[in-house]
Each structure stands twice: as structure tokens, then as C-alpha cells.
């Protein structure tokens, strides 16, 4: 079971600061790809619904672009919360999102090493 306190601790985010304005969701560039949106992450963590979030594909759709972090009027930092949940998810045995075998198919000649490096950081342990 994922622990709400654990998520709050590693993210350093206090979901109680949220005033539920929805600006994070409004400003999220990847809104269309997500099942749960940034404000829902904040709300659901506050209510302890971590497992649902952890199982959701949305965790891997966040671009960590920090638009929500920069623009949140209350300084809640939803992207850090999402990253904490993703980190928890991929830290579990066998939960690497990006498997070594899949990588060759996803890269091409022009792709910078940086993409692979960042993806590895974000999607794997």
C-alpha cells in the first residue's frame, strides 16, 4: 500500500495548501493525454487515494514541465506530487516503465542522448 505520508514527504508538497481553483489543470500542456489531471492528483493525495493514481497511465504523461508549479497561486507544486507518485511506482520491483528491450524501437538516429537519459530517470528506478 502506498502511503500518503510517504508521498507528501518525498514530494515536499502540502496538498492542504490547495484552494481548488483548477489552474494547474487549465495550464497543463498535456491535459488531453491524462486520465487524472493535476488538480485531481492534489485532491486525491489529500484524500489518500494513492493506489488509484499509481496505477493510472497519467503518472507517465506528466512532462515535468513545471507549468503547474510556476503558475499555482498557492505554491502547491502538483508536478512534484506526480513525480513522487511515479517514483514510488517505478521503485517497486519490476515496475520500470521503460524496459531495456523496448528502447531500440523507440529511438532514431537524430534523437539526442538526453531524451534517453531523461526518460530513464523519469520512467525507471
Amino acid at each position: 500500500m502506498a502511503d500518503k505520508e510517504q508521498i507528501i514527504r518525498i514530494s515536499g508538497v502540502n496538498p492542504l495548501k490547495c484552494m481548488k481553483c483548477g489552474k494547474c489543470t487549465a495550464t497543463c500542456p498535456n491535459y488531453d493525454e491524462m486520465e487524472y489531471h493535476p488538480h485531481q492528483f492534489v485532491y486525491m493525495v489529500e484524500h489518500g487515494e494513492i493506489d488509484k493514481l499509481m496505477a493510472s497511465e497519467s503518472v507517465y504523461k506528466c512532462l515535468t514541465c513545471f507549468a503547474c508549479v510556476e503558475r499555482c497561486p498557492r505554491g502547491v507544486e502538483p508536478a512534484k506530487l506526480i513525480e513522487a507518485i511515479r517514483t514510488e511506482a517505478v521503485r517497486r520491483q519490476g515496475c520500470n516503465r521503460l524496459k531495456a528491450d523496448d528502447i531500440p524501437a523507440r529511438i532514431d538516429d537524430d534523437m539526442p542522448g538526453q531524451a534517453l537519459m531523461m526518460a530513464t530517470r523519469k520512467y525507471t528506478r
Binding site: 481548488k20 481553483c21 483548477g22 489552474k23 495550464t27 489531471h37 488538480h39 507549468a67 497561486p73
Partner: protein
């Protein structure tokens, strides 16, 4: 021999829940010279006060200690009670066992122990208290109002109505303030100019009111009843007494490219200008930053066309010095700078405007003559998105922590007016909460929704992307439907937070009036003394004290005037008797005290002293003017011999307190 009475208040459960009040009374009752110690539910109640009065008479008390809430709350109450029972009110001491004990501690044992110590400390002090009698000082029967917006205007009119002289200092060339820029007022939708300008004219015509427009407060000295204020009259290069306000100069001036601040830069004015048609005083002003004559001596058109010969390019700033009994702060507000919120693209598109700009765009006297056209191409906007809480309700790193209070209502007003006038225009309002407490306010908002079909969306806008055709793609969340809206809008209107005018900070410093962390003036008591500053003789009117709408501002302005009148009707003010006093036998006459006195309350005289050998020796000694002394005590520490002491806070008394705490 001292006979001290101790009274311990329960304050309901406020104190009694954390402090064992019986034990406190019992323990303090055993202190030497305490002759009676009692506890009671509410010492400040009539029954409680009677208990004190009875004890004073019955036991012939020489000192009274009340263990209760902060002395800032009820010291005056208990002093009054003591006085009515024949005990000098300055023989009363308060031990603060609520704010500084029961409310901040959880452990009963600890809190009780502390209460006993605080009680003992007060007992130690009160034994050294001496009866004090307050002196008197005269009151200058004239008030100063700083700021000529609706708050300042209303306060000035009300004070003048009561027969007192009032001066208004306004830094702009005209009085009127923000209300003069507003089109219609909620919730009645009457025209702001129609209700404001008659009041402006009243000010001008009232012989009790003097308007110092285009002026600023330069220096303040003195104290309640006796302020002395230096007013800087900025050079307007037009003689106010000669100018007839005909406006010819403002039509002939060749410098046409000056951003018109009255229309928030949405159009231009000339270098010589009258801010708006109903300006008071209706006289022209030359803007030295743009006037060619003032900048390089090449022009002089206005002087040529002025039939009244009112133009004076050589004018200098002048100063007026005036005495006042009371000062009213009515410095008002401004919308914040919204550069930090450029996700709304305010800097990128002319079609993103603030609400105050929208007021001008919709105003008949505004740049478009009252027809709402979007600034970029003067087309009728078909879709308008309102964004609430821009910079309000933020955490400290992102903006203002407070709710600006007026935005919900003026946005409903804007939305309604647009829908009324242009029924084909779609209006969206993104809101976090709609806050409409106030008479007929929620009804007004509901009308916007139900009658005018304004689309209220619970959510916030996150990004505005301007397109080359002037349209704006607005991304906003609809939290109720759980989706994101993408709206192709013609205009976006931002409800920018409001903040106190920047000039307020320096005025607060001159007046030694305190401000909160947002630069709003602090009131003497948040509930019970809302229109007074903690600094005696300084009063607060309007938004300088906190966000307010027009009805509230006018209500507060009138309340403020009431307080000022209450002060000015008095011929004499009772002084604070806790003032400095110099023991002339000890005084060296060294002038150290005089140097640190902020009020100039200390003077010196040569005085003869009988010597043991029966000769008389002349010595220079300090004399304190008790009416002028405010009792800060700076002199007492500067005095090397200890001749200077402060009544009510004497060296011995404070030492006794120190001893009692450290016992």
C-alpha cells in the same frame, strides 16, 4: 501599608480551562499586603466590576490587580471601575493571563504557575504605583484628510458639515480618485459620475473645505490635537486662482502623445491637461515630463492662448504649513502590476485588459465613447472571458494573500452590462469562489446568471494564447464538469488584485501609524475601533485600511468623520499621565534627555537651590512639558543620573517586575 486586592477572571473558559483560577487567587491571596483575592467568571461584566468596587470600599484598597485578558483590552474598563469607587485609576495593574498565558499554553500546571508569577509581578509593581492625574492639552479645531477619493471626500464633507475646517490633500491634479474612473456602480447600476461629481462640487463650494490638489504631505510633527503638517504644493505651472478651466490650452497644446493616465493609457492627452471634464478644481496642469517649453524652452503655445494669463512656466514647488487637531488617512488603492502573471498574456495582447481598463472602455467619457470595442482592431467582441483572483488569494511568493473583495461584484456588473447592451456577446466568468456578502449583492450576482445568462465556470484560466488575428485561445478548467475548456475569445478581462497606494508607506512613517504586512493601515482594534489608527489622532477612511467597495467605503468614511468630530468638539484633551518627570535635585542639566526627545517636550531653566551652608546655588535643570510628552521613556535611559523617570513605568516599578519574574 499597602492593601492590595487581587481579582482573577475566568473569562468563561478562555482562562479557566487552562489556568486553575481558584488556585491562582488562593496563592496570590497569601502574598504580603494582599488583603483580598477572588476569582470570578467575567471580571469585566457589571457584576465583576461591582465586586471590585465593593472590595475597594470595604477593604480600603490602595492597589488593584486584575488577572485577566490583555491590558490593551480592558485596562481602561478596570481603571474606570476603580475610579468610580474612589481609587485612583493608576493604582490598577493588569496581569495578562489570557493572551499571554491561557491561550498559548496547554499544560494546566504550567499555565497556572505562570499565572501566579504574572500576578505576583503585577502585585510587585502596583505597590510602587503612585496616584496620577492626567493633564490637559488644547485641540486645534481643524482636520486634515490625506487623499481625495470618495473616502476622503465623504469624510471631509461630514466633518465640514459639523462646522469644522477641513483640508484635503490630493496628489493628483483633481479630487475624485478611483471612483471617478468607474462607469457604473453595483448593485444598483447607477452612474458613478452622477453620484460622485456632485460631492466633488460640494467640496469645492464648501467654505469650510480647502482642497490642496496636486499636493503631498511632506512632514508631520506633533501629536493628537496638535499636529503640525507641511504640505508640498507641486508646481502645476498654471495659476489656480486665474485659470478658468476653459480648456483652450488643452486643445492647442502641440504635444499630443502623452499617455492619458485617467484612461489608463488607453488613449492620449496633451502635455497641458485637465484630467476629465468634471475635475475639481477645474484647472489645467502642465506635465513637466512632456511639456516642450519646460523641457527645452521651445513652445509657449498655452501661454499665448490663455486669456486668463494663468500660465507660469517658472512656477516652483511651494510649501504650506498648517496646524491640525486630527489627521484622516484616505490614501486608497491601485490595482497591482500584473506583469508577473503573463500566462494571461496581458503584455502580449491589447485585447487582454484589466477590469479598471474595461471600466474606461465601457465609459461614455472613455476612449471609445462608451461603445465596447476590443482595443486591437476596434471590433465588437463576441466572446469575453473574465478571470477572477489575478494576484489575490495567493501564497506570499505568488501575490497577495488576501481577497480583494470587490472583484466578484464588479465582474458580475461588467458581465451584466455587456450582456444587457450586447446580447449577442458570450460572457464567461472563471471563478474560484463567488463572494457576494452585502446587501442585495448575491441577488445581483444571481441576476447576472439567471437573467443575463452569463456563463459562470467554477475553475481558473491557466493560459491565454493570443493569435495574429487578435483572438485569444483561453484554456480554463471547468471543475464541475471535470474538463478543460478551450475558448476562442475576443477579449480577456483580468480582475487584478488591489493593493494600498504606494504613497501610503511613507505617510505611515510620517504619522507613526502602523501598517500590516500588506501595507494596509492597522486599526486600533479590529472589531471595536475600526476607523482609528493605534496612533492617537490618526483616523482611517476607505481602502487604505483594507479592501472595500463603495458602500462600505462611504460608511467607513462617515464613521471616521464621526470619530474626528468627536475629537474636534473637545476644547481640551486629557493627556496621558504616564509622562516623564525630572527630579530637579538629581538633574545635571546636561541636555542628554533633550537630544533624544522626539517631541521637544524638554526645556531647561536656571534654578536656585539652597545649599547646606544657606547659600543659593544656581543650576540648570530639565523641565518636562507634560502636555507635550507622550511617555516613550527615551529620556529616562539617556539620563546618566537617573533624575529622569517615567510615571507609571518608573525604574523602581520595572525593577520590581524583573525581580518578581526572576524570583
Amino acid at each position: 501599608m499597602n492593601r492590595i486586592g487581587v481579582f482573577v477572571c475566568h473569562c468563561g473558559t478562555n482562562i479557566a480551562a487552562t489556568v486553575d483560577v481558584h488556585r491562582v487567587a488562593e496563592t496570590l491571596g497569601k502574598e504580603p499586603s494582599v488583603v483580598i483575592a477572588k476569582d470570578y467568571q467575567y471580571m469585566c461584566s457589571e457584576a465583576g466590576q461591582n465586586m471590585i468596587k465593593d472590595a475597594i470600599r470595604e477593604y480600603g484598597l490602595t492597589g488593584l490587580v486584575v488577572c485577566s485578558c490583555s491590558p490593551r483590552m480592558h485596562e481602561a474598563t478596570f481603571r474606570k471601575a476603580a475610579a468610580s469607587a474612589g481609587l485612583n485609576p493608576y493604582l490598577v495593574e493588569i496581569a495578562n493571563i489570557r493572551e499571554q498565558d491561557s491561550w498559548i499554553h496547554k499544560d494546566i500546571e504550567e499555565a497556572t504557575e505562570k499565572a501566579v508569577i504574572l500576578g505576583r509581578t503585577a502585585i510587585a509593581k502596583v505597590q510602587l504605583n503612585t496616584p496620577l492625574t492626567a493633564g490637559e492639552s488644547p485641540v486645534t479645531k481643524r482636520a486634515l484628510v490625506i487623499g481625495g477619493g470618495i473616502a476622503g471626500i465623504q469624510t471631509a464633507l461630514d466633518i465640514a458639515e459639523a462646522g469644522f475646517e477641513v483640508d484635503i490633500v490630493e496628489k493628483q491634479p483633481t479630487i475624485g480618485g478611483k471612483m471617478a474612473q468607474i462607469d457604473k456602480t453595483f448593485p444598483t447600476l447607477d452612474c458613478a459620475a452622477c453620484i460622485l461629481t456632485p460631492k466633488m462640487v460640494d467640496c469645492a463650494q464648501n467654505d469650510k473645505i480647502t482642497i490642496y490638489s496636486y499636493s503631498e504631505v511632506a512632514a508631520v510633527s506633533g501629536f493628537v490635537g496638535n499636529f503640525s503638517v507641511k504640505i508640498k504644493r507641486k508646481a502645476r505651472f498654471v495659476d489656480e486662482t486665474k485659470c478658468t478651466g476653459c480648456g483652450l490650452c488643452t486643445e492647442k497644446c502641440p504635444q499630443k502623445k502623452v499617455p492619458n493616465e485617467f484612461n489608463l493609457g488607453l488613449d492620449n492627452r496633451r502635455a497641458i491637461y485637465i484630467p476629465f471634464a468634471q475635475a475639481v478644481p477645474k484647472v489645467a496642469t502642465i506635465d513637466p515630463d512632456y511639456c516642450n517649453m519646460l523641457k527645452n524652452g521651445k513652445c509657449g503655445v498655452c501661454a499665448k492662448v490663455c486669456g486668463a494669463q494663468a500660465i507660469d512656466y517658472k512656477a516652483q514647488d511651494t510649501y504650506v504649513e498648517q496646524q491640525y487637531g486630527a489627521i484622516v488617512v484616505a490614501t486608497g488603492f491601485n490595482p497591482i502590476n500584473i506583469d508577473a502573471y503573463d500566462e494571461y498574456a496581458y503584455s502580449q495582447s491589447q485585447n487582454v485588459v484589466t477590469s479598471l481598463e474595461l471600466e474606461r472602455l465601457m465609459n461614455a467619457a472613455g476612449p471609445n465613447g462608451g461603445t465596447l470595442l476590443r482595443p486591437s482592431d476596434k471590433k465588437h467582441p463576441k466572446t469575453i472571458v473574465f478571470v477572477q483572483c489575478v494576484g489575490s488569494r495567493c501564497d506570499d511568493s505568488r501575490g497577495k494573500g488576501y481577497c480583494s473583495k470587490i472583484c466578484c461584484m464588479y465582474t458580475a456588473k461588467h458581465a451584466m452590462l455587456i450582456r444587457e447592451k450586447y446580447p449577442d456577446t458570450n460572457v464567461y466568468v472563471f471563478y474560484i469562489d463567488v463572494r457576494t456578502p452585502g446587501k442585495n449583492f448575491d441577488e445581483f450576482y444571481r441576476r447576472a446568471v439567471e437573467q443575463y445568462n452569463v456563463h459562470y465556470v467554477k475553475g481558473q484560466v491557466g493560459k491565454v494564447v493570443p493569435k495574429s488575428d487578435g483572438n485569444l485561445i483561453v484554456y480554463g478548467s471547468d471543475l464541475i464538469e471535470g474538463k478543460r475548456l478551450v475558448i476562442d475569445a475576443d477579449m480577456v478581462v483580468l480582475a487584478a488584485a488591489i493593493e494600498p497606494d504606494k504613497s501610503a508607506r511613507s505617510i505611515a512613517t510620517m504619522l507613526t501609524a502602523s501598517m500590516d504586512t500588506n501595507d494596509f493601515f492597522t486599526e486600533a482594534h479590529p472589531k471595536l475601533r475600526p476607523v482609528e489608527s493605534p496612533t492617537a489622532g490618526i483616523f482611517l477612511s476607505g481602502v487604505c485600511q483594507g479592501p472595500k467597495d463603495i458602500p462600505e467605503t462611504v460608511a467607513q468614511a462617515t464613521a471616521c468623520a464621526g470619530k474626528v468630530i468627536g475629537l474636534l468638539v473637545k476644547d481640551k484633551l486629557t493627556c496621558n499621565p504616564c509622562v516623564a518627570h525630572s527630579d530637579e535635585l538629581m538633574c545635571n542639566g546636561c541636555s542628554s534627555c533633550e537630544k533624544v526627545c522626539p517631541y521637544g517636550a524638554i526645556t531647561y531653566e536656571e534654578k536656585g537651590f539652597r545649599q547646606p551652608d544657606r547659600t543659593t546655588k544656581m543650576r540648570r535643570v530639565a523641565i518636562v512639558n507634560e502636555a507635550v510628552c507622550q511617555g516613550c521613556g527615551a529620556c529616562t535611559v539617556a539620563c546618566p543620573s537617573g533624575a529622569m523617570d517615567l510615571k507609571g513605568f518608573a525604574n523602581k516599578q520595572i525593577m520590581a517586575e524583573v525581580d518578581a519574574i526572576c524570583l
